[in-house]
């Protein structure tokens, strides 16, 4: 199943925050660098597996448990409704 961003949330780089944030009606969540990297891969077409391999390609030297971290973050993001199953 491919993943897409919930249109309620907007992912954006903020200079003043020195990183990416999620914006939504009257609120903002500041994202860690790795969280931002993962969400930037969510494009409405890629599946979780696609996202994991794309990030492995991008960060070949990342620790072994990176894939597990991605799983965990994505399930958190779904719980929060930031990310939806297409």
């Amino acid at each position: 199943m491919s993943l897409k961003m919930n249109p309620l949330y907007r992912l954006q780089y903020e200079k003043a925050q020195n990183g990416h944030v999620l914006l939504f009606p009257e609120g903002m969540v500041k994202l860690s660098e790795s969280a931002a990297e993962i969400l930037l891969q969510v494009d409405g077409e890629r599946t979780e597996t696609d996202i994991k391999s794309a990030l492995r390609d991008k960060f070949p030297d990342a620790p072994e448990d990176m894939e597990q971290d991605i799983d965990e973050f994505l399930s958190h993001a779904k719980e929060k409704n930031w990310v939806l199953d297409e």
């Binding site: 907007r10 954006q12 003043a16 009606p25 009257e26 609120g27 903002m28």
Partner: protein, 374 residues
């Protein structure tokens, strides 16, 4: 002065109060009661500069409010500029005057979200509270348009003693209109609401009943439908709210005439506030006397000064302290440690009692609405 010990943050939130004009006359309106004395509104160019300057400083959330922001013909221009600058733009509206043509134009300009306020969940009460006929019908139409144009929609119900019994209707209506978020906000007592407090403050019993209902409803939702947020009035708390997340730390309000405030109700305080017509937003935020005045904790009176909770609530709200005690330097009377806490207790004790004070609808001089006795 506390400017040195205090860290000056970023005005993350900019509230642009474009106009005090509004077709409605809510008796809980947070606009100043002496609006007739206001100066002329700043023009489009001046607003565009305010937006650019604030964005440059790191502001990211932008609320267009009022009054009714739709009364400004240049709203679309301002939204377009804000959106190009990268703001997340929120329109805070009563919906009166939001035609399909405008909602479409605002979408094209890049508006991100619409917050629609309701006075009640049925026509009779809604129109009575806002003192305008057919506004309820109009609002429902607008809510459907907001969804049609794919905006995230927040509904805001202002809850008072007048409508608190209708919580079930309010929640059903929110589901029917497919809101994304719903704020069930018991009104806070500023501006017109303070004038009308005897009419508006619900009793403890009414609040508990409403809150229990909301919780039950939420439990039955199983993650579906709108997300309901219930805001209780701070009169029933024993600690004040961390007003504006701390004075001059996060919020910047610009009023229709260009006055800058650290909080939208601060104009009542005996301080001189700066204006964008005379100074840049940067200069105001960093250097103005009024913005620095309550930053940090050097200004604090006792008991706040020696309290270990002072970095949680910052001594509460300066406006509330001023309205209730006449002294803006005092501890917010909501706090049970405040020597003035009895003022809150007596207001609560009188809640639900009948009053012979007339209910005052929000009016500008030119509106000529008679003061009604309810």
């Amino acid at each position: 002065m506390s400017s040195e010990s205090a860290q000056i943050g970023t005005p993350f939130w900019l509230l642009a109060e474009l106009t005090y004009q509004c077709p409605l006359h809510c008796p809980y309106c947070s606009n100043p009661v002496n609006m007739d004395a206001e100066n002329a509104e700043i023009d489009t160019q001046q607003w565009l500069k305010v937006l650019s300057d604030a964005r440059e400083m790191g502001a990211v959330q932008l609320g267009f409010s009022g009054g009714e922001p739709l009364m400004r013909k240049d709203l679309e221009t301002l939204v377009k500029h804000a959106s190009e600058l990268g703001f997340y733009t929120n329109l805070i509206t009563s919906g009166i005057g939001l035609t399909e043509k405008r909602i479409k134009a605002l979408k094209e300009a890049g508006l991100d979200h619409v917050q629609l306020s309701f006075q009640a969940a049925n026509a009779e009460e809604n129109d009575l509270i806002g003192n305008k006929r057919h506004s309820f019908e109009q609002k429902q139409k607008v809510a459907r348009l907001i969804k049609k144009y794919d905006y995230p929609m927040v509904l805001n119900f202002c809850i008072t003693a007048q409508n608190i019994a209708q919580m079930p209707d309010v929640m059903d209506l929110s589901c029917e209109l497919q809101a994304d978020f719903v704020e069930l906000a018991t009104v806070q007592y500023y501006g017109w609401a303070y004038e009308n407090r005897e009419h508006l403050l619900p009793t403890k019993q009414q609040l508990t009943t409403a809150e229990t209902y909301v919780n039950q409803f939420r439990d039955g939702q199983e993650g579906q439908g709108p997300k309901f947020i219930f805001v209780t009035p701070d009169y029933y708390e024993v600690r004040p709210k961390a007003c504006m997340n701390g004075w001059g730390t996060t919020f910047l309000t610009v009023t229709p005439d260009g006055t800058c405030l650290p909080c939208h109700s601060a104009k009542i305080l005996p301080l001189t506030f700066p204006n964008v017509k005379e100074q840049s937003v940067q200069d105001i935020w960093h250097n103005d006397f009024s913005f620095n005045h309550f930053r940090g904790d050097d200004w604090m009176p006792s008991p706040c000064k020696d309290c270990d909770e002072k970095h949680i609530d910052f001594g509460g709200c300066r406006c509330q302290a001023f309205m209730l005690t006449g002294d803006m330097y005092k501890t917010d009377p909501v706090c049970s440690k405040s020597p003035d806490h009895h003022l809150i207790q007596s207001a609560i004790a009188n809640a639900g009692e009948s009053t012979d004070k007339p209910l005052r609808y929000r009016v500008l001089k030119k509106d000529k609405i008679p003061v009604k006795t309810v």
